[in-house]
């Protein structure tokens, strides 16, 4: 009996043993903190003299009344809704340009892709200088046309958009690569058939290329949205969320609360919101994927 028993359970044991180290590590730094975040958001901030106490949903009611939270959340939505569609549209345009047999193709591709491999911190440093009043590149260009000097990053009306422009520049090349891969998988026979039947470029793009790229667009969109919530490195360098939180984003606000104001229990509460947003994006993605017709 024993050998049979062993044989039957060997797969289970081996499988578990193989995945266990990685699963443990992922749990420790993903699942456990999600739970402990939820837990800590229900407690007050402990100090040396006063231990943390259970306060129920008090942090959440504070959050609902926190104007900065709403400001930051609005900022993040604007930020996502500008960076995502623009960088995707530019990425698709780049991919369509590069997908043709043009001179210097690999050089142009490299130019598009290079910002992707650079650290956000380095990119932020360079762009910070562009936006510098008077000496910066933007003011110099405006100066040529007789414009006044602007404090681009110091002005609450423009600071968020300055970040948006930079992020579009940095991310488009990354998304282009996925479109390029998808375009190369389209059969040239389809294109020829379209050509024979008299479809123009625009008609063919609208009716064939774009719909067939839909899975890629979905993948890229989810990636871009998630990025817009989790990448805030540039804020540390360029604006620190300012002026007056005009360019602050949710994760940066969490970072500020936790490591500048040392209010970790409110930071935990904010993190719960961020995790919820990411969870919603995940669910939407799955619903769309489920609904999507499988072509092949």
């Amino acid at each position: 009996m024993k050998p049979l028993f062993q044989l039957r359970y060997r797969n289970h044991v081996n499988g578990w043993l193989l995945v266990l180290p990685a699963v443990f590590m992922i749990s420790l730094f993903t699942h456990y903190p999600i739970g402990s975040n939820l837990f800590h958001s229900l407690f007050s901030m402990g100090t040396v003299t006063r231990p943390e106490v259970f306060i129920g949903l008090e942090n959440y009611s504070y959050l609902l009344d926190d104007e900065i939270f709403w400001k930051v959340l609005t900022n993040n939505l604007i930020y996502s809704m500008c960076t995502v569609p623009f960088s995707i549209a530019i990425a698709l345009g780049m991919a369509l340009l590069i997908n043709r047999n043009i001179k210097g193709r690999s050089l142009v591709r490299m130019a598009f892709f290079t910002p992707t491999v650079l650290p956000m911190i380095a990119v932020a440093n360079i762009w910070l200088f562009f936006y510098t009043p008077e000496y910066g590149l933007f003011d110099q260009i405006f100066g040529i046309f007789g414009g006044d000097s602007h404090n681009w990053l110091g002005n609450p009306d423009t600071s968020l958009f300055c970040l948006i422009v930079m992020v579009i520049w940095k991310e488009s090349g990354f998304f282009m690569v996925f479109y390029l891969a998808a375009l190369q998988q389209l059969s040239p026979e389809l294109k020829e058939a379209g050509l024979m039947e008299g479809s123009g470029r625009w008609y063919y793009f609208r009716r064939v290329t774009f719909p067939l790229l839909m899975p890629t667009t979905l993948f890229v969109t989810v990636n871009a949205v998630v990025n817009s919530f989790k990448l805030v490195d540039h804020l540390v360098i360029m604006t620190k969320g300012g002026p007056d939180n005009a360019s602050s984003l949710l994760l940066y606000y969490i970072y500020e609360n936790a490591f500048s104001f040392w209010d970790t229990s409110y930071a935990a509460t904010l993190t719960v919101v961020l995790v919820l947003i990411l969870a919603i994006i995940t669910i939407i993605q799955f619903v769309v994927v489920e609904k999507r017709i499988h072509y092949q």
Binding site: F24, P119, I126
Partner: protein, 273 residues
């Protein structure tokens, strides 16, 4: 002279692509210009402005860049090595063994694709701190060592390996670990390269989490070092900051230019699901 209309179109497309490419490179060109010229020329584009490496020399002497570089190098190597081991084992488990609760566990693993460790930085900081690891290089790396992305990619690649190869090895009496080592890993080489490039560039560039858990020169990676160096309150010249910036990004940039094809293909490869 055939298809003249098509040629005109091609010309427009080519010019458009080149112009857009030029615009895209402009910020970098500027960074290099400013890094290699004296401060008075950093906003003053004169073709024959004198070249200098003085900015680099000064940046190098103002801050412990060699140490930062070493830290980043150790960090990236450590993470990659750990990721290869952990992800290979887990991907092998998911790809080849049927075990109780496999699908649920796999779904839980994939959660990390959406909710990355840096999002949970408050609690992860608490964890690292309770381990007594604050301000060490392993502290920066630990949350990333088991990567859902790596497990996913390798699992895909393992699953695409023909069954006959595995069965042939089994018939010859190769053990489960032997099959992993002799069949799966060699055949997934391109996935390892792709994942390796993506991982290295991610962790070379990563900033927020290292910023939070490091507090001294002993563990700070390049990105954090650069941020502290370039902070406005440090009062350093622009040209020197750009020189430091160029220094920070140049190892990756050189690697990218040398292995451009592999880079682009790796990123492509990692996106196809």
């Amino acid at each position: 002279m055939k298809f003249r209309e098509f040629d005109a179109e091609k010309f427009i497309v080519t010019t458009g692509a080149w112009m857009l490419g030029g615009i895209w490179l402009l910020p970098l060109v500027f960074a290099f210009w400013s890094a290699f010229h004296p401060a008075e020329f950093s906003t003053n584009f004169e073709l024959f402005a004198p070249l200098t490496i003085d900015n680099f020399v000064r940046a190098w002497s103002y801050a412990p860049f060699p140490r930062y570089l070493l830290n980043t190098f150790v960090l990236v190597t450590l993470i990659l090595a750990a990721q290869f081991v952990l992800c290979t084992l887990a991907a092998y488990g998911f790809a080849r063994f049927d075990f109780f609760g496999k699908n649920v566990v796999f779904a839980l693993v994939l959660l990390q694709l959406m909710i990355m460790p840096e999002v949970l930085l408050v609690e992860n900081y608490r964890t690292i701190s309770s381990m007594g690891l604050l301000d060490t290089i392993p502290a920066i790396g630990l949350p990333y060592m088991a990567s859902a992305f790596g497990i996913f990619l390798l699992r895909q690649s393992f699953k695409s390996i023909p069954k006959e190869l595995v069965e042939a090895a089994q018939v010859e009496g190769v053990s489960a670990i032997g099959i992993l080592w002799k069949v799966y890993i060699p055949l997934a080489k391109s996935t390892y390269i792709a994942y390796g490039l993506v991982s290295v560039s991610y962790h070379w560039n990563n900033f927020l989490w290292p910023l939070v858990v490091t507090s001294s020169v002993n563990s700070r990676p390049l990105t954090v070092g650069l941020a502290i160096f370039g902070a406005p309150e440090s009062g350093v010249d622009w040209s020197i900051i750009t020189a430091a910036t160029v220094m920070t990004m140049s190892p990756l940039l050189v690697a990218f230019i040398l292995f451009q094809r592999q880079f682009v293909q790796s990123f492509m490869h990692s996106g196809i699901k």
